[in-house]
């Protein structure tokens, strides 16, 4: 999406694009709120209320864009080997984070298992294979096949980033071919949903985020980020494309709004609900979700300038801050949402408690990001103005 912004300015894109951090920060907060209770009233105000896509699409698209830009630049300036090493270093960090989240999940299970086995739910809960064979569950978590309780987006991110070096090299050799392959694979998944990765316990379970479908969004973002380094994508300025995006995004928003009103007040009709609900597969990133997030990203890139005053204002600061430390804040968000769910269930919380948990959780996320920012500045005295450091110094 940022490819659009560099149209006027030419190849000079060394300045940090705060929009990326800002919107990624928003996505992180939304992911947290959606995870605490997917069916709570608060989730009607997260990114998913804007249309058919939700925070996951925004997160993956921005991550792809940033990765393409940062590592694409690293290849140019520091050589392929160094860039590839940096990518796999990042993959390793993500993997460790995934294992950490799994430990936290198993700890929660271990804490509750006694009570569960002696409850009226014992018979139902016995279907959980990870209790029958915890050893297998651990191995399957290490191989990314066991993805309980929202531990599904990091495995996706890990495999996408691991494939990135090949794609970036591919862009340099034959970008049209790479993009066509990427979209072709996505299209194949739409036609045949058996193109998927197996998940534990099997045999019919698959990864919640199908990497063969989601790669198209990530690598399209990476391509835009990579193209941004060398002048952007000219045809993205097309007036008709802009008009199409406005009409499309607005239509999706209105349809989605009717669904929200329908859930709140049943007699209100859910426009096209019967026809569209089966077509909104998140697992396989259906066309509707894909198109919708691209339109939203396109509009955001066109309507908000990377130099917009607002992005450096005090109000935007918490979002930018969290977006910048996205890996840590994402993991923290997963942890906090689990705790939030425990609290809500323990106290049978209503809307008030849900709001309280959302506010407290977001405050902790911002506080942690601020601490990390401060610590980072402390550690690098040569760069007192951390805000101005280029993104190449940071992870993605």
């Amino acid at each position: 999406m940022g490819a659009v912004m560099s149209l006027g300015t030419g190849p000079a894109t060394s300045e940090r694009d705060f929009r990326l951090d800002f919107f990624r920060g928003i996505a992180l907060f939304c992911i947290f709120i959606d995870h605490v209770d997917w069916n709570s009233i608060l989730t009607q105000f997260t990114l998913r209320s804007l249309g058919f896509s939700d925070a996951a699409e925004v997160f993956i698209l921005i991550s792809g864009y940033t990765a393409g830009m940062v590592y694409g630049r690293a290849i140019e300036h520091r050589g392929l080997l160094r860039a590839v090493m940096r990518i796999y270093h990042r993959v390793w960090q993500l993997y460790v984070a995934h294992v950490f989240l799994f430990m936290q999940f198993m700890a929660t299970v271990a804490y509750l298992v006694d009570d569960l086995n002696n409850s009226i739910y014992a018979e139902e809960f016995r279907a959980a294979d990870f209790l029958k064979e915890p050893g297998v569950a651990v191995i399957k978590a290490l191989t990314l096949q066991f993805q309980p309780n929202f531990m599904d987006i990091l495995p996706l991110y890990i495999v996408l980033l691991a494939a990135l070096p090949f794609v970036l090299v591919g862009f340099r050799l034959w970008q049209a071919g790479i993009l066509a392959t990427s979209f072709g694979l996505w299209g194949a998944v739409q036609l045949n949903k058996h193109i998927a990765l197996a998940a534990y316990p099997g045999p019919d379970e698959v990864w919640f985020f199908n990497p063969f479908a989601w790669q198209a969004l990530f690598f399209l973002g990476a391509w835009c980020g990579w193209r941004g380094l060398t002048g952007g994508v000219p045809w993205l300025t097309n007036r008709w494309l802009f008009r199409l995006a406005v009409v499309g995004a607005l239509a999706a928003f209105l349809v989605r709004l009717s669904w929200t009103l329908h859930w709140l007040y049943d007699p209100f009709p859910a426009l096209f609900g019967k026809a569209l609900w089966p077509l909104l597969s998140k697992t396989n990133l259906s066309l509707w979700r894909f198109a919708n997030v691209l339109m939203l990203a396109f509009l955001a890139a066109r309507l908000i300038s990377p130099q917009a005053q607002f992005l450096t204002s005090r109000a935007a600061w918490p979002f930018v801050l969290c977006g910048r430390h996205s890996l840590h804040i994402f993991c923290l968000g997963i942890l906090l949402s689990t705790i939030g769910r425990l609290i809500i269930n323990e106290f049978l919380g209503g809307v008030f408690l849900q709001c309280l948990i959302a506010v407290a959780g977001i405050a902790i996320m911002i506080g942690t990001a601020a601490l990390m920012e401060w610590f980072k500045a402390e550690q690098s005295p040569s760069r007192p103005q951390v805000l101005q450091t280029s993104m190449t110094e940071r992870g993605v």
Partner: protein, 267 residues
């Protein structure tokens, strides 16, 4: 933990359980008199069942089949007579003595929706039911069934039952504080709501109803004391059965003069 520690732990637990049991005795007696009525807001917007209600009021012989999982089988209560389908049948006949209803419980513990759907023809439709109550979603959430497949299976099930001119009610998961901490039910719950909504099929929202009861302090669903477990489960299933009787008989006009009919959920 060493042997002594284990022993101490167990003894303490036993003592605590005994103490709690004693303390709870008077409260239990009180609680039993409490009414587990469900506010009509939990189901007033759901579609009604014209054929079933007509059969109930006219005293026509009819079969209701329940297909579901462990919580419909009712093992936690200790006997099939205490499971909610049996209590539902009792509530129906006590409220509508003229009704000639047989409730067949075809629940099997720990089956996915797909496994239940594969039993539809042979075990459910073969009985020529007028109404099928399909309790599902739990095992799929526990095992992590592909959401799209879950949706398609339910849609195919609805189409199959519609083709055999059977009325149906779907029932969602149980509410539980602890399982919700480690299992993601929300996504499956959303799909159930969407599919039933899109097909104009009534959904009995057990999750919300049980949450409501837990909130109003009607049940201690968290009990782990084996002695109280059967008791809590059978009370819960009785309340679910009576709420289901309310749910199924919605639309029978208050003016209809049927002996034994009551508006609340009292027996």
């Amino acid at each position: 933990m060493n042997m002594a520690g284990t022993f101490l732990h167990r003894t303490l637990r036993l003592l605590a359980a005994a103490g709690i049991g004693l303390l709870l005795l008077p409260e239990t007696a009180l609680a039993q008199e409490q009414d587990c009525a469900v506010p009509t807001s939990f189901y007033e917007t759901e579609p009604t069942l014209p054929k079933t209600t007509a059969a109930i009021t006219s005293g026509k012989t009819m079969v209701i089949v329940v297909i579901g999982g462990a919580s419909s089988l009712g093992q936690a209560a200790g006997s099939p007579d205490l499971a909610w389908p049996a209590r539902f049948a009792l509530a129906l006949t006590s409220r509508f003595p003229a009704a000639r209803v047989t409730v067949n419980n075809r629940a099997v513990a720990r089956q996915t929706t797909q496994e239940m759907a594969s039993r539809l023809d042979r075990e459910v439709i073969a009985l020529k039911p007028m109404l099928v109550i399909w309790e599902t979603g739990t095992t799929d959430a526990v095992r992590g069934t592909d959401l799209d497949e879950f949706r398609q299976t339910i849609q195919a099930g609805i189409d199959r039952l519609r083709a055999s001119e059977t009325e149906m009610v779907f029932m969602d998961m149980q509410f539980s504080r602890h399982t919700h901490a480690v299992i993601n039910f929300d996504r499956y719950e959303s799909v159930l709501r969407e599919v039933t909504d899109a097909n104009d099929v009534p959904l009995f929202r057990r999750l919300d109803i049980m949450h409501h009861w837990a909130e109003s302090g009607l049940f201690n669903l968290m009990t782990t004391d084996p002695a109280r477990l059967h008791h809590v489960a059978s009370r819960l299933y009785d309340c679910i059965g009576r709420a289901m009787a309310d749910f199924v008989t919605r639309g029978i006009s208050a003016g209809t003069d049927i002996p034994g009919k009551s508006s609340g959920s009292t027996k």
